[in-house]
Symmetry: D2
Subunit: 387 residues, 4 copies
C-alpha cells in the first residue's frame, strides 16, 4: 500500500457519526483497492481525553486531540471530518477552510441558512474540496433510482413523495439536550426533524427530481416541555417533533414530505416514491437492498410493481461486494461516500453534495420552518444550477 497517495484524516466528534465515518475510512482499502488515494486515520478529536483515546484505539487513529483548533492547526492533516453537533459545524468548517483543509461535514450543513452561507463562502474563498454526508444517496438502490431517473425511463414526473418516520421521542420522560440527546435541543440542533430527517429527504429529492421552488409546511411539538439534561430544569421544547410540507418542483411536479419522531412502529422509515408518466419507483430504508419499479410499458396482463433486489454486479457499487442476493447494510452508504470522495480527488472534480449543493437543502429547510411559523407559502430561492 506504500504506493498509494494518502488522504490524512482528522475526525472531530466521536458519537454515532464518528463511528460510521471511521468505519467508512477503514473499509475502503479492502473493497476499493483500485483507488489511487487511501485514507489515513491521522487524528481524532473530542473533549474527553480518556474517551477519545479509547475511540482512537478502537478505530485505529494514530493520535488524539482534545481541542479541535489544535487538530486544524496540524500540518499532517489533509481533511477535516466534522461529526460534532450542528451548532459547531459553521465555526469548525470556516476555521478549517481558512487553514486550507478539505472538509467532510456531517449533515445538515448547518443550523440555519445564514450559517450555511458563511460556510459556503469560506470554502469557496479557500478553494478547498468539500462534501456533506448525505449518505443515503450512496445506497445502491438509491443510486439505481438516480440512474433510472436520469435514463428518462420515468417520463414526465408528476409526483414526488417522501417521509422519514421514527418513534423514539414519544415518551414525555425523555430529557432534552446533553450527551446523546443534542438532537432534542434546538440550540444545538437548529431544528428538530426538519434538519435531522427531512434534510435527508430533501437532499435525495432535489438530486433525483431537481429544485424545490416553494413550500407550505406545518410543524408540531407534541411534548411542549421536557427536562433539560444539562440544566436539570424543565424547559420549553424548541424543536419540531413533526413536520409536513407540500411543494412544487421546478419541473412542475408536486412534492409531499413528512417527518416525525412520533410514528409508533417506525424506527427509521425513510421512504420515497416518484411517479412519472411512464414508470414509477419507490424505496424504503427498512428494506434497503430493494428498489420497486413499475413500468407501464410492460405487457398489460403481466404488468406490476417489480421488486428489484439490488445486489447484482451491474447494479451500483455491488461489484465491490459479494454475490447476487446477498445484501449490504446501512453502513455501506458511508463506505461508498468515502470511496467517491477519494475518486473525486483522483479526478479533480467536486464530490457531490458539496457545501454549495447542501446549501440548497438548507434553503428548503429554512423555507419550511418559516412557512410553518407564518402559516403561509414560502419560496425557497433554491439555485437550480447546483442541484
Amino acid at each position: 500500500m506504500s504506493t498509494k497517495k494518502q488522504l490524512r484524516i482528522g475526525l472531530i466528534g466521536t458519537g454515532f457519526m464518528g463511528r460510521t465515518h471511521s468505519n467508512g475510512y477503514n473499509r475502503v482499502p479492502n473493497f476499493f483497492p483500485e483507488l489511487e488515494f487511501t485514507p489515513v486515520l491521522k487524528a481524532v478529536c473530542s473533549r474527553n481525553a480518556e474517551k477519545v483515546q479509547a475511540f482512537a484505539d478502537q478505530w485505529g487513529y494514530e493520535s488524539i486531540e482534545t481541542d479541535w483548533k489544535a487538530l486544524i492547526a496540524r500540518d499532517d492533516i489533509d481533511a477535516v471530518d466534522i461529526c460534532t453537533p450542528n451548532d459547531s459545524h459553521a465555526e469548525i468548517a470556516i476555521a478549517a477552510a481558512k487553514a486550507g483543509k478539505m472538509i467532510l461535514c456531517e449533515k445538515p450543513l448547518s443550523r440555519n441558512l445564514a450559517e450555511g452561507q458563511a460556510m459556503v463562502d469560506a470554502i469557496e474563498k479557500a478553494g478547498v474540496q468539500s462534501t456533506v454526508w448525505y449518505n443515503y444517496r450512496r445506497l445502491p438502490a438509491v443510486t439505481l433510482a438516480k440512474q433510472i431517473v436520469d435514463s428518462g425511463k420515468l417520463g414526465k414526473i408528476y409526483h414526488y413523495r417522501a417521509n422519514f418516520l421514527q418513534d423514539w421521542t414519544i415518551s414525555a420522560d425523555l430529557p432534552q439536550g446533553g450527551t446523546g440527546l443534542w438532537r432534542m435541543d434546538s440550540e444545538a440542533a437548529g431544528s428538530g426533524v426538519t434538519g435531522d430527517l427531512l434534510a435527508h429527504c430533501i437532499d435525495t429529492a432535489m438530486w433525483l427530481n431537481g429544485a424545490i421552488t416553494d413550500v407550505s409546511a406545518v410543524t408540531e411539538t407534541f411534548v411542549k416541555e421536557r427536562m433539560h439534561q444539562l440544566t436539570g430544569k424543565v424547559q420549553p421544547v424548541g424543536i419540531d417533533d413533526a413536520c409536513i410540507f407540500h411543494c412544487h418542483f421546478a419541473n412542475g411536479s408536486l412534492g409531499l414530505f413528512e417527518s416525525t419522531r412520533y410514528a409508533r412502529g417506525h424506527k427509521a422509515l425513510y421512504t420515497f416514491e416518484i411517479n412519472g408518466a411512464d414508470a414509477s419507483i419507490r424505496w424504503d430504508l427498512h428494506d434497503l437492498n430493494r428498489l420497486e419499479y413499475f413500468d407501464h410499458r410492460d405487457e398489460s396482463i403481466v404488468r406490476g410493481w417489480r421488486s428489484i433486489i439490488v445486489t447484482d454486479g451491474d447494479q451500483p457499487y455491488m461489484n465491490k461486494w459479494w454475490v447476487g442476493g446477498l445484501g449490504i447494510g446501512y453502513e455501506h452508504s458511508f463506505i461508498h461516500q468515502v470511496a467517491d470522495f477519494l475518486k473525486s480527488l483522483e479526478a479533480g472534480t467536486p464530490c457531490s453534495p458539496t457545501f454549495k449543493e447542501a446549501l440548497q437543502t438548507q434553503k428548503v429547510c429554512e423555507a419550511v420552518i418559516e412557512s410553518a411559523n407564518s402559516r403561509s407559502w414560502k419560496d425557497t430561492n433554491v439555485d437550480g444550477d447546483f442541484v
Copy 2:
C-alpha cells in the same frame, strides 16, 4: 320470505354505482337472513328506455322509469337510491325528501357545500332516513380499525395519514365529460380527486379520528385542456387532477392527505395509517382483507407490525361469510352498508353516515379547494357533534 317487511327501492342511475348498489340489495337476503327488512327492487330509472330495461332484467328490478320525477312520484317506492353524477344529487334528493322517501345517496353528497346544506335541510325538514354510500367504512378491516381506535388501544393519537392514488387519466388523449367520463367534467363532478377520492379518505378519517379543524392544500391540473366528449371541442379542464393537504384534527393530531389520478402503478391505492402513543394501524385497499397493527406493549425483542388477515368470525361482518383465511372483495362493502341500513330501520336509528354527517366531509372538501385556490390555511367549521 313472505313474513319480512319490505324496503321498496327505486334506483336512479345505472352506471358503476348502480351496479354495486344493486348487487348489495340482491346479496343481503342470502347473507343476512336474520334481518327484519328485506330490500325489494321495485324500479330502476335512467333516460334510455332500452338500456334501463336491460339493466332491470340483469339485476331483477320489477319495473323501469325514464324520468326520475316519475320514480319519486310512485307510491310503491320507500327509498330512493341516487347513483347519478354529482350534479343531480341535490335536485333529486330534495325532491325525494319532499316526497317523503328515504334516501340513499352515492358519495360525495354534493358538488359543493351549498348544495349539501340544502340537501341536509330538506331531509331534516322531511324527517326521512338518509345515508351516503361511503362504503369503505364497511370493509371488515376498516371496521376493525374503528373498533381498535374506539377501544383506546392506540393511546393518544399523533398522526393520521391517508392517500388515494390512481393512474387512469394520465393520457392527454383521454376526453373529458360524457358517458363514463363525467368525473373529468367539473360541471358534473364539482371537483376532481377532492370530491371523488379524498372525500372517501376524509369520511374515514373523521369517523376514526374526529373532526378536522383547518387545512392547507395544494391542487394541480396536469393536463390543462382536453377534448370534451359532449361538445367535441378542446376545452380547459376544470377539475383538480391531484390534491394534497395537511391539517389539524380537533384531538391535536396532524393529518396528511393526498390524492391523484397521475400516480403511475396505482389503480385504487386507498391507504391510511394512524400513529398513537401506544399502537399504530394501517390499511391498504389493494389488499383489503388485511389490517396491519403495531403494539408497542408487545415484548420488545419480538415486537413488530402484525399482519392481520381479517377473515375470522369474531372480526367485523365475517361471521356472515366463509371461513378463516378466505377473503371477500370490494363489493362486500356495499352489501354490508345495505345490511346496516336495514338494521337501522329495524332499530329506528340513523344509519351513519347520514346526510348531516356527510355534510361535514363536504365542509372539509370545500375548505381544501378554497385553501388551494387562495394558497392559505382555511378553517373547516366542521361541527364535531356529528362526527
Copy 3:
C-alpha cells in the same frame, strides 16, 4: 329472463359448500347476463326438514327434499349438485348418472380411487355432463397463471411447488366426526389433508404443469386419539394431519407439495410457484387478487418479481366485475365455475375438470397415501390425455 334456457338445479347438502355453490348460482345472472342458460334453484335436499327449509328460504330454492333419492327421481331437475361429505359422493353420483342427470360434484371426487373409478364409469355410461368443484382454478390470478404457462412465457419448467397450510385442528380437545367435523373422520372423509387440501394443489398443478408420474410421500397424525362426536368415545384418529410429497412431472420437472392443519399462523395458505428457464410465477390464496411474475428477459438492472394486481378488464373474468384495483373474493371462484359450466352447455363441450379429469387427481392422492404407508415411491398411473 323468460327467453333463457333453464338449468334446473337440485342441490344435496347444505353445509359450507352448499352455501358457496348456491351463491354461485344466484350471482351468475347478474354478472354473466349474456349466457344462454340460467340456473334455476329447483330443490335443495338435506335430512332435517326444518333446517333445509330455512336454507331454501335463505337462498331461494323453490322446494325441499329430505331424501336425496327423491330429489334424483324428480323430473324437474336437470343437474344434481353434490355437497355432501365424501362418503356419499359415489353412491349419489352413480344414482344421479343412472337417472340421466348432469352432475356437479364437490371435491374431492371420492374417498378413494375405486369409488372414483366407479363414478367415472357411471357418468360415461350415462353420457351425462360432469364437473368437479376444484374452484381455485377459476380465481382470476390462477387462470392468468394458466394463460402465462400456456403462452410459453416460462420456458422449460424445472420446479413446481405448492402448499396448503391451515392451523384449525391443533387443539387436542377438538373432537372428530359429526356435524361440521366430518373432515376429521377418515370413514367420512377418506383421508385428511390429502383429499381435503392437497387435492386442490394437485388439481391446479396438473392443470398447469401436466401429469405427475410418481410420488414419494410422508404423512403424520400428530394427535393420535380424539373423542368422536357421534360415539362420544375417544377413538384413534384415522386421518392424516399433515402430508408432504415430492414427485416427478411427465415434463421432467420436480414437484414438491405440503399440506397440514398444524401450521400455526396460516388459515388457508394455498400457495404455488412455478420456475421455468425464462420466467417464474407464484400465487398465494391469502392475497388472491395478486399474481407474482418474474421475467428473466427484463433488462437486468431493473429485473424483479412483478406484483400483478389481477383486477383489470383484460385479465381473466375481470371484465365482469368492477374497475382496476378493486378486488374480488374467494366466493367468486364458484360464480366463475357456474358460468363456465353454463358456457359448456351452450358450446356442447365438457366442463373441466370433468369426473375423468378429477379421477387423475384421485390417482395421485391414492399414490401419495400408499407411498406414505409403504415408505416407498409409487407410480401414479395418471392418464396424461385427460390432464
Copy 4:
C-alpha cells in the same frame, strides 16, 4: 491494542470465502473492542504468488505462502482458516490438526462423511479448537429465532421447512469446474446443492430443532453434460442441480427441505419456517434484518404475523452496530462468527458448530444423497448429543 492477546491467522484460499473471512477478522476490533483476543492476519496462502500478494495487500496480511504445507509449518500461526474448495478440506485440516493449529473450516466440512469423520478424529486426537463457517446462524434474525425457540415460546413443534433457491446455473452454456466454478464439479465439491446450500439449511435446522433422524430425498441434474473448463471437453455432470427431501426430527416434527440452482428469480433465497403449537417463526435471507413471528396467544381480533425489524440493541449482536431501523448485511454473519470464536477462546469453550457438530450435518447430507440414489428412506444416525 498492544495489551490484547493475539490470534495469529493463516488463511488458505483467496476466493469468495477468503474475502468474507478476511473482512470478518478486520472488522472485529472496531466493533467488539471488549474482546481479550484480537485477530492478526499473519499469512495468506494460494498457489499464484502474484495474486496472493495482491490479496495480502488488499486485506492487510503480513505475508504470503504459495504452499499450504509451508503455512501450516509456520510457528507464528495459531489458527488455520480453510477457504479452499471442498476436496482439500480434509487433507489440510488433518495436517493442521497434527501441527496443533486451531482450525476454522469453511462449510461444508467435507465432500462426504468418511472425510468428515477423519477430520473429526484428527482434531479430537490433537485436542485443538475447531469451528465450521455455517455463518447464517450468526445473522441477528436467525440468532433471535434460536432465542425464541429456546425460550419455549413456540410450544410443541410440528413443522420445520427450509429452502435455498438460486438460479445461476440454468444456462446450458455454463461450463463446469475450474476457477470460480468448482462448485459445478462433483470431484471438487462432493455434491451439488446438497453440500453447497442444503448443508446451511440442515445446520440451522438441527441447531434450532434438534436431530434429523431419517430422510427421503430426490435429486435431479437438469443439464446432463457440460463442457469442463479444465479439460475443455463436454463431460457428464456429476452434481445434483436440485435436491428435495422430507424427514423426521427426533422431537416428532416433520421437516421439508428444498434446494436448487434452477429457480428463476431467486438469487439466494434461503428461508425457513417453524410451526409450533403456540407460535411460529419464519425468515428470508433476501430481507435478512427481519424475522416474522406469529403468536397464537395474541388477542384473536388483532392476531397476525409480526414483522420484526431485528435492529434494536436488545436483539442479538445489534448493540454492536448502529441504531434501531438501520440494517446490517450478509457479511456481518462472518464478523459475528469471528467474535464468537474469540469469545470461545477467552472462555475456554468450544465454538459451535465444531467439527463434531458439523459432522452431524454431513451425516444428513450423506443420507440425503443415498436416499435419492436408492429411492428409499435412509436413517441419518445423527448423534443427538452434539446438536
